[in-house]
Symmetry: D2
Subunit: 326 residues, 4 copies
Amino acid sequence: MQLGIIGLGRMGGNIARRLMLDGHQTVVYDRNSDFVANLVKEGARGVADLPALVAGLDKPRAIWVMLPAGAPTEDTIGELSTLLDTGDVIIDGGNTFYKDDIRRGQELAQQGIDYIDVGTSGGVWGLERGYCMMIGGDAKVVERLDPLFATLAPGVGSIARTRDRVSADDRAERGYIHAGPPGSGHFVKMIHNGIEYGMMQAFAEGFDILKTKNSPSLPEDQRFDLNLADIAEVWRRGSVVSSWLLDLTADALASDPQLEGYSGAVADSGEGRWTIEAAMEQAVPVPVLANSLFARFRSRQQSTYGDKLLSAMRFGFGGHVETPKK
Amino acid sequence: MQLGIIGLGRMGGNIARRLMLDGHQTVVYDRNSDFVANLVKEGARGVADLPALVAGLDKPRAIWVMLPAGAPTEDTIGELSTLLDTGDVIIDGGNTFYKDDIRRGQELAQQGIDYIDVGTSGGVWGLERGYCMMIGGDAKVVERLDPLFATLAPGVGSIARTRDRVSADDRAERGYIHAGPPGSGHFVKMIHNGIEYGMMQAFAEGFDILKTKNSPSLPEDQRFDLNLADIAEVWRRGSVVSSWLLDLTADALASDPQLEGYSGAVADSGEGRWTIEAAMEQAVPVPVLANSLFARFRSRQQSTYGDKLLSAMRFGFGGHVETPKK
Amino acid sequence: MQLGIIGLGRMGGNIARRLMLDGHQTVVYDRNSDFVANLVKEGARGVADLPALVAGLDKPRAIWVMLPAGAPTEDTIGELSTLLDTGDVIIDGGNTFYKDDIRRGQELAQQGIDYIDVGTSGGVWGLERGYCMMIGGDAKVVERLDPLFATLAPGVGSIARTRDRVSADDRAERGYIHAGPPGSGHFVKMIHNGIEYGMMQAFAEGFDILKTKNSPSLPEDQRFDLNLADIAEVWRRGSVVSSWLLDLTADALASDPQLEGYSGAVADSGEGRWTIEAAMEQAVPVPVLANSLFARFRSRQQSTYGDKLLSAMRFGFGGHVETPKK
Amino acid sequence: MQLGIIGLGRMGGNIARRLMLDGHQTVVYDRNSDFVANLVKEGARGVADLPALVAGLDKPRAIWVMLPAGAPTEDTIGELSTLLDTGDVIIDGGNTFYKDDIRRGQELAQQGIDYIDVGTSGGVWGLERGYCMMIGGDAKVVERLDPLFATLAPGVGSIARTRDRVSADDRAERGYIHAGPPGSGHFVKMIHNGIEYGMMQAFAEGFDILKTKNSPSLPEDQRFDLNLADIAEVWRRGSVVSSWLLDLTADALASDPQLEGYSGAVADSGEGRWTIEAAMEQAVPVPVLANSLFARFRSRQQSTYGDKLLSAMRFGFGGHVETPKK
């Protein structure tokens, strides 16, 4: 099948590669012409601008936009919408806020252009392992594009079948789903990332307790000098917390047990915040997801104004003077 | 190798079975004689009381106690200590609080009896998959008992090797570790369970948002009627949150997508609380682990006194009268 | 001074009363004519619709809108804006989201109409105690309306002066401030309410522990049957937690120590959620404010889907069956 | 009335002073003889050791121990118990863990010595404002010591009476209560401090959002440059959050609006942690109290091992490299 791809960074480039490895044709564009040139060497057709991309595709066209969410994606889709014809489809594979998808889907529908949003998990591993995809949009269009999704997805692989699972639709078992109308793909991916934050923070807190169990502040007979790399490793086998995040933790600890190579100033992307917003709209209590996000906010600061206010109040009522941070 | 086992419930019975399947001898006791009789049919030697158990084992004896933490374990070990000889070893495979292990280890050492604590993960799946074990105690004794641990553990299996892992000790890769002195095994297992609470709550919150995304309180064009079983299934393949807990979630949703068979009054065992205590002793911030525990506390109540006090304050300052719970 | 008032509910009606008691003239409107009639008896001039309200005020007109945030306020201000003249001012005293204020301020400025937003704290007590007001808008307009604010505010009263306070502007000490441009008044009020949620939840949790200290699940010699009304009372005198919320708690406990008259299904208004949104926009960690909100969400539900998923996972890995909720 | 006082630091010294100002006699001891000498100048009788203290008091003796909780208090009470006679009473006015009180009360009762625990709030302000006291112990002994408590307490003062309050016991309104048996006084004080942590953190978070509302990361028309000192001041008048902690906040902001004089590495004492322990024993969800404590733990660290693990995992699944902390 044929696909236009805009945005050839780590994600977009590897999506093109995985498709080509399975025999699909790609027409690719990036404002960085080096990225285009690289993929051309690997078999893609390269173009120099959006009109050339549109001109180079057969109708009905399918164009995958893989750009940072917000203005880059918005502007590109805006320009594309002036170039495409009825029946063409724009696929947003980035991390767009799902309400923008809903709006865009409605706007493009008025022009007869289909809009598909794909929440894509897989990161740097996707080329090799495949991409787990959550897809929103019209069912018929998703059906038409199925050869692409089937290639990009991990496939059934060696993962054990879920007991009692009965479904006429085997796509989930092959690593992609049609979640619902436009926006639903990114919504499901957004919640995925919210859960990811919570799981990561659970590991972070647990390993922090393991690490500090050797603290001189504890009574000597209650200190343990634990081998964290071994602990991560053993939990990979038969324990309740076994998971890909644990595998990655074991990787990291095997080569750098003190984690000295990491800053600990932890970034967050939009999905974590949007997840909390969705929870608030739906009145769902989400203490773990929210506190995971807040831990990242806090990790990026030396000291907060709020902390200083606590010190000030403690001085006020008790004359306490805080000792400086260690 | 030979092992005495006290407590033949789900865990203890299956531990005996897994050992016998690999050719070890077991001498078993439970105050419920039916449990003893069942294992005798499967090849164990059964005894009727602790003295008989001790009499039936070769020196140096090894006895695995697999009883509920607290009084049952404490009393049994107390009685055992009066029956055993120098060089014998007591193994506590239950969910004992690690400070009790430290104390017991010190007390038994004075009698020349060795004490080993084994944090055991695997639950109902252990017979088939093996038990992930975190072991505390004297290194030489742990070494002597190695044949037992090697049998009980899952083994290397088909799990991919951790990149960059270099270690002279391959036990972690076979599913068990010697964590350190007495208490360290249960300590590591305790933290494991703390992390487990956090991961579970992360999934619970995320699926709650997915479920309520179809709520009539939302604008109609922003509702999605999502297939949660498919979502759990697709995330099992290539997503960042893939994990055994997700596998179990997919199992549960495949057969009961509304989860109508579950009460939602979620129990907690000691480990979750002890994890928070350890964090407080070590001044480690653990918002996710603690809030996971609190969510369970809350789940077991219809209404709290604290909630009523909020209503009372709201009435006090604003004349607000709360509508009854839905 | 003269003021038009739209919306004569508990807040709007008492604002009119407090102004009239101090000699101001009010021209009042509510779609419920009984509310108008009541205030006419107390000295207000009543009108039957918005055009009559506008016609009945001297230029430059000042009109206070005291309606529920969202559509009622938005629609009314929309209609007013077609009736008013350059130099008139609309005051929104409700609980409007501050970003709506910013937008409205910009829109109305294009018509030469001034816009003032007033975050108003005081609830049912305001008539007697005065209203604490946080005002956003053009400084000159706020200055022109000062006689109204000075009357509505509590005044200096008997509250001790803040040590070291030096300020050319004594309005804060009289109970109102000019916070900044349009939106800033409601923004400050919004944060006030966020803090209020946190303080309330702190009391709720603390009293819950006091209450349950008599639980049969505790060892008998560690139970206390505490008099919560006395505790609230004693803390009002010289303790660090003395506060108006504690006064209200003491009120409630004096007449209903079991709080049996309260449902405990605690409502939340927009401010709590908007506060969390603001915190997320500014990357401020707000665990206490967010968890206070989540406690209210949880209080309104019997059981969550998330809780059931926890039960399902526990059954999956451990065969645990939860006992029903007590 | 006559009272022996051990420990003449800020709290103990001022307690002696407040008692003497009302005509009581004090016999005072501190291992720092300067502290003793200072109080002797103000009218106290000074002694050089515990035997002299005991010798200098009339029977039945009453001795107030005002030392740091833990070993200093424990050792002193241990020594005292060997010196005192049946009918004497030891008062622990420090911050002892209430379970230690329960134990001590039982031990001393076997010697015929009474034990009273007094949770004392008032800090540096107590001399002037009086101490809010929560008292545990035998009712008759508390009654006998009433003249001391009545003097130390703030008294009714100018605080408005609680509506609907009807009680034969007016002590709460004068600023002290008999909470119950030994330990109950410190238990109530412990919960007081837990609530205090939560209220402080609520203010800290709210003011942090106010402060950062001027951040360059926000769209220009959505920034407000707020006067935090004025905001604290105005909330003192008629707002729902008015409280002593807010008064202290206003004090601090009046003289140092940037709070540059405070380290923000916020200490915590035992009460906050014990409150969480009590909540866990009683299965009470306390997200706000716990997260307030965790915020303090976090405030004292530059970076946590857990944060670094988050960075490591993010690198693992996404190749993300964190930018250093600002």
